[in-house]
Amino acid sequence: MNPCDDPLELYRRMLLIRLFEERALESFSRGLVYGTTHTAIGQEADAVGVVSCTRPGDVIVSNHRGHGHFLAYGGPAEALAAEMMGRATGVCRGRGGSQHLHWEDFYASGILGGTIPLAAGMALAERERSAGAVVVAFLGDGTLGEGVVYESLNLASLWTLPLVLVVENNRYAQTTPIARHLAGSLTGRFAAFGIPVEEAETTDVLEVRRLTQPRLDAARAGEGPQALILHTYRFSAHSKGDDTRDPAEIERYRMADPLPLHAARLAASEVERVQREVQQDLERAFAAALAAAPASPASLTPALGSTP
């Protein structure tokens, strides 16, 4: 689906994420989904703004809160819903679930930080392939607690890898506010490794795009890793329930909701049409996922593919 610079299309993608996540939470409440999930409601502008700047062949490395990145990338909503519902038609055959997604050049995992060296390795492979692809890796503020992130920054910088690190600073690691988990500064963490870094307090998808494009271009041009820090907020709980944040704080951030912010630029009729279309698409996607056969134990293959 990428790249894209049509404002209406950007809105559609953000809405797709918003409504997907709402349905996902509702499906949980209704017992249609087993397990857990982390939704990105409120952070849609990051996912769509960044991913819409990528080119086909670019690689996206996502994390536990990855539905938004996945949908922004153009991953099929039906296969994502099916994956969360443990269906055979799930994007990973029901094995991965919400946190472990892979589709085309998109990868996500639930081990915080452990994906960052992978992203650096992918960037190394892509650089040598000389198709000019770039790797974009998303990580949360909390993930900066993990040491392997710094090992990766050092390696990526030393080796001038085409890697763009996007920190979605939603101000919390699970329930822990950033002041309690992060010393020093977010930008300093990248500067220390000689990685150019920019930050912005924004939920505007166009602003995110404006910030992203030069980072991607620089990485693609062989200037090495780049970092972008997006100060944002999630409106939903960390996971399914259990929100310990001050409701007044949440309300305050809701005033910068990326969807109405961007919708205000578009014709109301277009917005309504897109809303209808996305609703219908998701209706279909969730219904199809629900109707699909559960993943069957008969589909379990061995853990090693190429046994001698």
């Binding site: 087993y34 397990g35 857990t36 994956e83 443990g86 269906r87 799930g90 029901g94 094995r95 991965g96 679930g97 919400s98 946190q99 472990h100 995992s109 639930g110 081990i111 915080l112 930080g113 909390g142 993930t143 900066l144 607690g145 993990e146 040491g147 690691a173 699970q174 329930t175 822990t176 309690r180 988990h181 992060l182 259990d242 310990t244 559960p294 993943a295 069957s296 134990p297 589909s299 379990l300 061995p302 853990a303």
Partner: protein, 330 residues
């Protein structure tokens, strides 16, 4: 009735109350959240200066715990999911476990690292594992597992307050909500061993056992169901050892039973290969000599899938225990 969760939570309260040396560290352990599985609920309220919420740094906080322990504290570190414990594997094996011995028995590392393992909740491949098998057998590291058959709180308290060596303390997510086993009339329970006992369970009034089951943690609950099914539906009488000390494992525990049954079945939730059961079986065979038969029930050698039907197919269940037991008893 007390649940395993309540028992552990109370024990932590008591540890903090009874010893000024105790500190608690972990990700998101503060109230009102009280930890991802609520084991630390209420602790930060009662002991604000001694309960520390940490960044997402598993190696770092275990290492911090080692340092604190070296200098006289008794830290308890929570790893939010057992799946992340391998991030601290070097800290556990190369630092915590070695320091006492490698310094010529000078240093002490009274550290407890607690973590919930296990599946059955659909959390998928990186949030459902039983990874303790990868750390068992590291010289100098004791691994304990909570069980509803015993007193998990007392077990934890002993480790925190009395043990001068590092302990990896395994909990199971599905065990938290279980009530502690009452001394019911259906099943007889006999504690064996001292500081970290095992529990020997038999159906009350059953004839001498013809089969020895050995398990720990949540799978021991499944084994207990199998024990009853075997007795009541198949007239196969087994006895079940629910262990709390997984490593070092004391084979002597099973001697008397195996001398009677010559048949050993281990039940665990970790994947089968190189699991805890391997050590139990190998140790038993070495001690026992010829004439032993054995089997192992464990998870299939696969990652734990997210989908419910797949997860159930991969993990052990009472049925699979019962059939393995019957195959062995025959």
């Amino acid at each position: 009735m007390t649940t395993v969760l309540e028992s552990l939570n109370r024990a932590l309260h008591e540890c903090l109350a009874e010893s000024p040396q105790v500190r608690l560290l972990g990700e998101d352990v503060l109230d009102p959240y009280g930890g991802a599985f609520k084991v630390t609920r209420g602790l930060s309220g009662a002991f604000p200066a001694r309960v520390l919420t940490t960044p997402v740094s598993e190696a770092g906080i275990v290492g911090l715990g080692v340092g604190m322990a070296l200098r006289g504290l008794r830290p308890v570190v929570e790893i939010m999911f057992g799946d992340f414990v391998l991030l601290a594997a070097d800290q556990l094996v190369n630092h915590a476990a070695k320091l006492r011995w490698m310094t010529g028995d000078q240093a002490r590392v009274p550290l407890v690292v607690r973590t919930p393992m296990g599946g059955g909740r659909g959390y998928g491949p990186t949030h459902s594992q039983s990874l303790e098998k990868h750390l068992l057998g590291a010289p100098g590291l004791r691994t304990l597992a909570a069980t509803a058959a015993g007193d998990p709180g007392a077990l934890l308290k002993t480790a925190v307050l009395l043990d001068d060596d590092p302990v990896l303390f395994i909990e199971h997510k599905l065990l938290y909500g279980k009530d502690l086993m009452a001394g019911g009339d259906e099943v007889e329970k006999l504690p064996v061993g001292d500081r970290y006992p095992a529990y020997r369970l038999r159906v009350a009034g059953a004839p001498p056992p013809s089969l020895t089951l050995v398990s720990y943690g949540y799978p021991a609950e499944l084994a207990l169901q199998a024990l009853k099914t075997l007795a009541f539906e198949h007239e196969v009488f087994a006895e079940l050892f629910v262990c709390t000390q997984l490593a070092p494992f004391d084979t002597g525990l099973l001697k008397e039973s195996l001398a009677l049954t010559h048949r050993l079945l281990t039940i665990e939730e970790g994947t089968r290969s190189l699991g805890w059961g391997a050590e139990v079986v190998a140790g038993a065979l070495e001690a026992h000599g010829a004439g032993l038969r054995a089997g192992r029930v464990a998870a299939q050698d696969l990652p734990i899938p997210a989908a419910q039907a797949l997860e159930a197919a991969v993990l052990p269940a009472p049925d699979s225990i019962t059939s393995a037991a019957l195959a062995l008893a025959r």
